[in-house]
Amino acid sequence: MCGITGVLNRVDAPPVTEATLRQMLAMIRHRGPDEIGIYRDEWVGLGNARLSIIDLSGGQQPISNEDGTLWIVFNGEIFNYLELRPELEARGHQFATHCDTEVIVHLYEDYGPGCLSRLNGQFAIAIWDTRNRSLFLARDRLGIRPIFYTRNDQQLVFGSEIKALLACPGVNAEINHDALDQVFVYWSALSPNTVFNGIWEVPPGHYLLAKDNALSVEPYWSLDFEVDRTAQPEQVYLEELEALLIDATRIRLRADVPVGAYLSGGLDSSLTTALIRNYTHNRLDTFSIAFADNPGFDESAFQRRMAAHLGTDHRVVQCTHADIGAVFPEVVWHTETPVLRTAPAPMFLLSKLVHEHNLKVVLTGEGADEFLAGYDIFKEMKIRRFWAQHPESQIRPLLLKRIYPDIANLGSLNNTFLNAFFKRGLADTGSPYYSHAIRWSNTARTQRFLAHQRLEEDARLPLTVPPGFHRWSSLGQAQYLESTVFLPQYLLSSQGDRMAMANSVEGRYPFLDYRVVEFCNRLPPDVKMPGLREKWLLKQIGRRLLPPEIWQRTKRPYRAPIHRSFYGQHTPDYVEELLSDSALRESGLFNPAAVAQLTHKATNGGGLSETDEMALVGVLSTQLVYQQFVKTFNLAPYDTCSPAKVVDRVTTEIGASVAVGK
């Protein structure tokens, strides 16, 4: 796992300096604190900050093919590299290292962009082809690892994080108002947008090819929810899923350093941890978050139960309201985007705990809710479609109480009113956004704080669906929306990669093995969620491996406290400062009077609604983004970034120097 960055000159221009590359790497040193590597020639500069996990001594980047015509910097893991290597050797390739990075460069030599279909992993790749002077950037299928780029007539600049791009002379941060509008509907900007003008991400499952003055971005994989026509007995599906999960877990244990696991106390991470325990016999470290001053969010009893059941060395970070408030600016420095939840903050504290115990790798349970149908939004969609068949039914909407017991138990909130909320757009069953329309519409209420308000529908237009979408089941359609918006843009980035890598920790996700995902997406919907029973197949596996109180648990969404983190016993100074009238007028992004009323409500304990809380975090995190990236942008000192490996072909001809230990 690493951070990568680079600059491609698109016109005749002075070569990118080593100092520039070192400065860009200094900004993402948290991703790769172990060593720095640089490649330079007249046209391109590549940089890598390495977190050594495989081939600790021999895997220094950049790495080349045999004749030094292809050079790679790489962030991520190729879990099937051991299977790919003999095949490449049989084709005549000679390996200089034992690391997975080198497999990619030889595969690319033989297959070009087609090599991506052979990779099972989580990755962001940059390969410079000196033969035709092309730069190839690629990202894994589901968007586990990030890669951003910006370009103008002179240069293309890329990096694992936006802050690396901003360290390159000539690249500046300006807020993209359209993308900000999207954040206040979808919880994130929609790919390939970021909240900064002119800075894009390479979308999940895509590669970018820059050659001469042309630049193209192409898909190489996409989600497909076309169901297998030949239905199998449930037992057949069960056995295949279990075999796939075992193998997905097994290859994710490949590392030359110890591998730990996150344990939330829910079904998914309990299962991945149990699989590790059942199929390996090493010591196993597990890590959890507890909310000491908020029992409503705390799951530590279940975490302790699982840790005891599996006999792991278990450690817990106690996360208080004050902790969340204290680390939030640093969290937003790493997310590089506004967020509408504080949930990334405890994840930041959790990876810190992992780092303090000298672990670099953890397996986690992300992905099961998306691809094995665990979320309440899928149940909500099923109930509303069922209800829509008889809209006047008084009985059908009562099913909503089963998924929203907290709302139903509010007591004085009459059913008639509750039903009325979920009846909005009930008959619009042909809409591709049917499953998510209510969620997006509710979240869009936070847009009322924006200085430049847009119609909700306008913000929704950029979200398109693929041609085959209308053939998929309604569950498949809902899963697609969830897996292309919320999963990569928020869960795997703001709450995933960024929070783990902030503390030099790599997350690995067995449920996001593409073989598991493709298998799940071919399953008949009723096998994944018969009636309103979520993650049915997974629970059948859990039944054999987990204590009943774990696998039978009702799913509980991971949440973290919001307004008490900022308006508790002590309000952090930055909150008052950034939400002040003058700070809001300076950024020009929000309506100061509206924000003043919101903060007044929060300060007076006025019982913030869900929308109010999202708005509060959204405004505050946007102001932090503005302050840390637009108003001022502090460069990290780069003199500590002394490269362990430099390939300098600016002063020497191609085929010449490789300096190690410079």
Binding site: L413, F417, L418, F449, Q597, T611
Partner: protein
């Protein structure tokens, strides 16, 4: 008790819409259809009515006929308080 529609409008503007004191809808606009309230806001509005006007809102009263517009809510409060009203 002196009850004015303006009190309802102002409360919603300041605490739910965050539009200062301005209520940018007609008094007959549906809270549901216009997206003025979310489910939690209904509860908030009930608490406001109970506290400000000193009445106990029964569960069966929390229906759109009473709580779905400024006009409906005004009429409901008027009925419950049973006093002359200045519109």
């Amino acid at each position: 008790m002196d009850i004015k529609r303006e009190q309802i409008r102002t409360y919603i503007a300041e605490n739910i819409l965050f539009t200062n004191k301005e209520y940018p809808y007609s008094d007959n606009a549906s809270f549901l259809n216009e997206g003025i309230l979310d489910s939690m806001n209904v509860l908030q509005l009930v608490m406001f009515v109970e506290k400000r006007f000193g009445i106990k809102v029964n569960d069966e009263d929390i229906v759109p006929e009473n709580f779905d517009s400024v006009a409906n809510l005004f009429a409901y409060i008027q009925r419950r308080v049973g006093t002359p009203v200045h519109a």
